[in-house]
Symmetry: D2
Subunit: 335 residues, 4 copies
C-alpha cells in the first residue's frame, strides 16, 4: 500500500483521481491540497465524495506533502508545478504531473507556446512522458512522469503506429478534435457557461492550441522523424470524451486493411487500446481508461478516428496507469 497526495484537489482531474484511487487496492490518499481558505472538507468541494473519503483540502508546503506521501499527483496549473517538483524529488517522492510543465523536452518550445520561462530546467531532462504505449519501460524507472495531455494521447495513439510503420507522411497531418466541456476545467468562463456552450459546437484556439507541439513531439518520438500537424480543437456540448479525426497522406500504396492490421498488431498486447472495425463514439470509452481506434482509406487519404474519456485515459486514468508502472503494481490495477 502506497501513500498518495493530490495537489490542486478542487478541479476535475483531481476529482477523477480520487474516484479511481478510492477503489485502488494498493493506494491510499493521505493528503489533498488547495489554496482555498478554511481548509474545506473535500466533500464540500466535490459533493459526490460525501461519506467516501474523510480529508480536508490543506494549504501544505512541499515538505509536509513529502512527509505524508510516496507518490504525488500534481493537478496544478502549468507554471506552478516547477516550484513543487524539486523539493518533492529531493525528498524521494515520486511525482506524476498532470500539467504541461514537464511534457515538452525543449524549454524554448515551452517558452514559445506557454509564454513562460521554464522554472525547472534541471529536472526537465529527467521527466519521462507518461504514455505507456510508447514509453513503458522508462516509466517503470521514472521518478518524475509528465502525464500527457488529453488531445495528445488521443491523437498519438491513432497516428503513432502508422507513422512508425512508415505508412503515412509525417507532414501536413490534419488533426480535427472534438472535446467535451470538462476538458476546459472548473474555472468559470463565459465560453463554458451552460447556456453559452450547450446546444452549440465551435472551434477554439485554431492554430494556437498548446497541445500542438506536444502532439508533434510525441509523434516524432514514435517515428523518429520531424512531424508537422495542423491541430483544430472543438468544444462539444457534453461532459466528457474526445473524438479525434485525423487526415494524413499515405506513403506509397497502402490499403485500409494494412492500416488496421498495423494498428491491431501494435496494440495486440496493450491493455487499454482497442482497434475496432466500426466507427467508435466517445460514449464507448466514457468512464474507462480505454482508447478506441480505427482507420479508413478514403479517396487517397488516410483517416484515423480515435476516442477516449478525456478525464480518464486523457488525464487521471493514465496517471494511475503510470503510478501502477512506477510502483510495480499490475498496470491495470484499479482501472
Amino acid at each position: 500500500m502506497i501513500r498518495v497526495a493530490i495537489l490542486g484537489a478542487t478541479g476535475y482531474s483531481a476529482l477523477e483521481l480520487v474516484r479511481i484511487l478510492l477503489k485502488h487496492p494498493e493506494a491510499q490518499i493521505t493528503a489533498l491540497t488547495s489554496r482555498q481558505e478554511g481548509n474545506p472538507h473535500i466533500a464540500m468541494v466535490h459533493p459526490s465524495l460525501v461519506g467516501r473519503i474523510d480529508l480536508r483540502c490543506e494549504n501544505l508546503e512541499p515538505s509536509a506533502v513529502a512527509a505524508r506521501a510516496d507518490c504525488v499527483f500534481c493537478c496544478l496549473p502549468h507554471g506552478v508545478v516547477t516550484s513543487w517538483v524539486p523539493p518533492l524529488l529531493a525528498a524521494d517522492v515520486r511525482v506524476i504531473d498532470l500539467s504541461a510543465d514537464y511534457r515538452l523536452k525543449d524549454p524554448e518550445v515551452y517558452t514559445k507556446w506557454y509564454a513562460l520561462k521554464h522554472g525547472d530546467t534541471k529536472n526537465l531532462p529527467r521527466a519521462v512522458y507518461g504514455l505507456p504505449e510508447l514509453y513503458r519501460s522508462q516509466i517503470r524507472e521514472a521518478r518524475l512522469v509528465a502525464n500527457p495531455g488529453c488531445y495528445p494521447t488521443c491523437a498519438a495513439l491513432a497516428l503513432g503506429p502508422l507513422l512508425k510503420a512508415g505508412l503515412i507522411e509525417p507532414r501536413g497531418i490534419i488533426i480535427d478534435s472534438k472535446s467535451g466541456v470538462s476538458g476546459a476545467g472548473r474555472e468559470l468562463k463565459l465560453t463554458t457557461h451552460y447556456p453559452e456552450c450547450n446546444e452549440s459546437v465551435s472551434a477554439y484556439n485554431v492554430g494556437t492550441h498548446r497541445h500542438t507541439p506536444e502532439i508533434e513531439q510525441t509523434l516524432a518520438a514514435f517515428c523518429g522523424q520531424e512531424v508537422e500537424i495542423i491541430f483544430t480543437p472543438h468544444l462539444i456540448p457534453m461532459d466528457r470524451g474526445i473524438l479525434t479525426t485525423a487526415y494524413s497522406t499515405p506513403r506509397g500504396s497502402v490499403s485500409e486493411d494494412q492500416l488496421k492490421e498495423t494498428l491491431q498488431k501494435f496494440y495486440a498486447d496493450e491493455p487499454f487500446v482497442r482497434v475496432v472495425d466500426h466507427l467508435p463514439g466517445t460514449k464507448d470509452t466514457c468512464g474507462t481508461n480505454f482508447c478506441h481506434v480505427t482507420a479508413r482509406l478514403v479517396r487517397g487519404k488516410v483517416i484515423t478516428i480515435s476516442c477516449e474519456d478525456n478525464l480518464v485515459k486523457g488525464a487521471s486514468g493514465q496517471a494511475v496507469q503510470n503510478m501502477n508502472l512506477m510502483f510495480g503494481f499490475p498496470e491495470t490495477m484499479g482501472l
Copy 2:
C-alpha cells in the same frame, strides 16, 4: 413605429427582446445600455446579432434614454430599476420592467423577500402587473408595467382559472417547477458551469425562492382570496423552458373534465394559452410566446401541468405582448 430602448442589454432577456423586436413591424430599437467599458457593439456581446442590428451598448443617463425612446424595457437587476423609473415616467416614456422591483404590491413583502428597502414607493402603486390574461385592460392604460417572473407566469396560468372558479382550495398548493438554465441568467456561477449542471437535476432555493410571494399575490388576484403555496424550483439541463407540476386539493366534488373545461373556457379567446388534453413538454412551447396547460385528477388531488419558454412567455415575449397592448398594436404582433 415606436422607438424602443433596452436597459441592461448584455443578458439573455435583452437578447431575446432584440430578436423579437427585430421582426416587429411597429418597433425600432434605438438605444441599448450597459455599464461595460468601451461601448462594445451589441454583436460583440451577442454574436448571434452580427449584421442584424447596428447599435452599441452605451452607458446612458435616463434623460438620454428618454430622448431616444417611447418605450423602455428594463432588463436590469432588481434594486437598480427604481432609480430609472421616476425620471423615465417623468419624461413621459412608458416602461416595461422585467425585474422584480414593481411586481409586489406591498413594499414590506418586497423587503422581506429581497432584503432591500423599496426605492420607489411613489410609483409602485401605478405599476400594473403585466399578465395580460389577468390584467389586459389595465395594461392598455399603464405607463409602468411590472413584467411577471417566469415561474409566476407558468404557475398562475395553470392554477388561476381553477382558483377563480372555486374548484380548488387556495391553501397548501404544491408547485414543483423545472426550469432550463437560461433562467439563472448570464452571470458566471459554479452552479451553471457546464460540467456542473449538465447531466444533473437538482432543487434550489427550497422554501426561499423569491417568486413565492409573487405567485401568491397573482393567484390571490385571480380568486380574491389569500393563497398559500409551497414552491420548489429545479434546475434542468436544457437551455430554455419551464414545466410546472402543481398539486392542489379540489373543493368538493370535481371531475377531470370539469377542470379541463374550466381552463378551456377561460382561455377560449386568449391568443397565447392553449389547453391541451395530452401531457405537454417544454419543447412544445420553445421559442414561442405560448403557454400549454392541462389538468388531471389523481386519487383525489388536482394536478395541473403547464409549460412555457421561460425567455419568451416567461420574460421577453410577454414584455412585447405588454408593449403591444400599451401602444394599441395587435396583441400578437411580432410574436
Copy 3:
C-alpha cells in the same frame, strides 16, 4: 468465485451489470442471453465492451443457463420472467430479477397495474424485495430476490425512515420524480428519440405509473401502515439519474433538525445512503451505488429530496449489492 448469467443482455441494466461485474473479484460472467439472431458477440451489441469480455448473446434454455451459473440476473421484460424462475430455482440457482414480476406481494395488485395474470404465484411468496436498507437479513437467505424499481428505491429511502419514526402522515404523500432517459430503456420510441426529448422536460404516466403500488407497498413495510401516494414521474434530458422531491404532512410538531437526525440515525451504518445538509443533485451520485437524501420543513410541509443513479442504485448496482448479500461477500464488494 461464483458463476453469473445475465438474461436479456441487450439492454442498459444488463450493460451496467456487465460493467460492474467485470471489476467484481468474486463473480465471473459465464453466460449472456438474448433472442437476437445469430448469437452476436456482446461487444457488437454494446461497443463499450470491446476487448473486455469475450461472450456471445445466446438464445439459451433455462437448463442450459442453470448448468453454467450459480446466480442469474434477469433483465427481461415483466411477464417473461415468471417462466424462467421456476426451472432456475428448481436447479438450485439463485435468481435476482430486475423486472417487476416478483416485486408486488399481491398478485391481484400485479394484475391491476400490469394488466397480466401473474405467471408464478407459487414462487411469488418466496421472493424477497431486494432493498437491503429494509430487508437485509431476508436477502441474505433468499433464493429469489425481486430487485426494486428505480423510482421506488429513491422514494422509499427518503420517506421510509420518516414514516417508520411516525414523523409524517402516511396518506396524501406527493412524490414528484425526475428521471434521465436511460430509465425508459433501449427500445426505440418517439418519446425517447433524441430530437424529441432533448431540451425538453415533460411528465408522463401521470396517475398511472406502475411504480405507484410498489412504492406504497415498500413504504407500508417500513411503517406498518397503509400508505397512499400521488406519484408523478418526469422525463429529463440527461442519460442517468433520478431526483425525487416528495411532499408530506408532518404528524404533530416536527422540526427540520428532527427530520435530518432521524434520517442520519437510520442510515448511520448504511454503506450506500448518505444524508446531506445541502440540496443534492443527481450528478453527485452518477455512476455510483449511493443515494443522497436530505429533508426540509417548508411552511408546515415536509420536503424530502433524494437522488441516485437509476442504473446503479436504481437497478444493477443494487442487484450486485443483493448478490453480495446472498453469497456472503462483503456488501460493498465491486461497488
Copy 4:
C-alpha cells in the same frame, strides 16, 4: 398571398416550414400530406402547433394538391419525389424539393450514390439548385428548385468564394462537419435513440456520405473546375446546427486578410451570410436563416469555419428564401 402545400408533413423540415410560413405575410398553408392513417390533425403529429394551424395530414393525390396550391414543398424521402414532380409541374405548380432527387445534375452520379435509377430525367435538367448566393437569377425563373442539402450549403458558402477567386486548390479539400441530431430525421434509429447519442460524438458514413457529390458539384459550379473533397460528417449531441471546418491548400501565396476580404466582398450584399472575425459557434445561427463564415491561415493551410442551423438555412429557411425569389417577394420576407 400564395397558397402553399407541404408534402410529407410529419418530419422536422416540414415542421420548420410550418413554423416559418405561419409568420409569412404572403403565404398561406392550404394542404399537408402524409400517409399516416386516419388523417391526423397536424397538431397531433407536432404538438407545438396546437392552436396555431387547423389542418389535417391528408393522403392526397398530386392533382388534389395541385388544385389547392401555387407552391409545393416536398419533404418526402428521395426516390419518392420524382413521381410527384411531373404532375405538379404539368399543373403549373411551382415545386421546391427538399429531397436529393433533383440536386445532382448527372443521373448516373445520382444512381451511383443513391443506388437508384433516377425517376424523372425529363425534368431533371429544368431543376435549379436552390442556393441563392450562387444561382439567384435562375431561381427567380425556376418552376422546380432542388433545395440544397444541409452540409452542402454550409460547406459551399465557406469554400465557394475562395475557389472562385482562385485562392485555394480545388483538389484534396478536407471537409470535417459536425451536425446536430435533427439532421438525421424523425425516423427511429438506435443511433439517434437518446441514451445512445447523448453525451457522445462520433463520425458516420465516412467516405460514403451522399452529400459528397453534391458538395463537389456545387463547388465546381462556383469555380468552373472539377473539385475533389474528403467529407466526414459527425453526429453531435445537440438538436440543431452544423459547424463545418474545412482544410484546403492555398494557391500560391495568400494571406489570412486576403481570405477574409474575399469572403467579405463576395457576401457584401447577401442578406443571410455574415463573414465574421471571431470563431463562430452554431448557437450564433440557431433558429435563423444566417450562415456565419470565417477563415484562418494556419501553417500553410487554409481553414474555413462556417455554421448554420441545419433546419433553417440548411433546409426550410432556405426553401422559403427560394419561394420568396420564385414568387417575387422580398428575399428576406418571413425569415
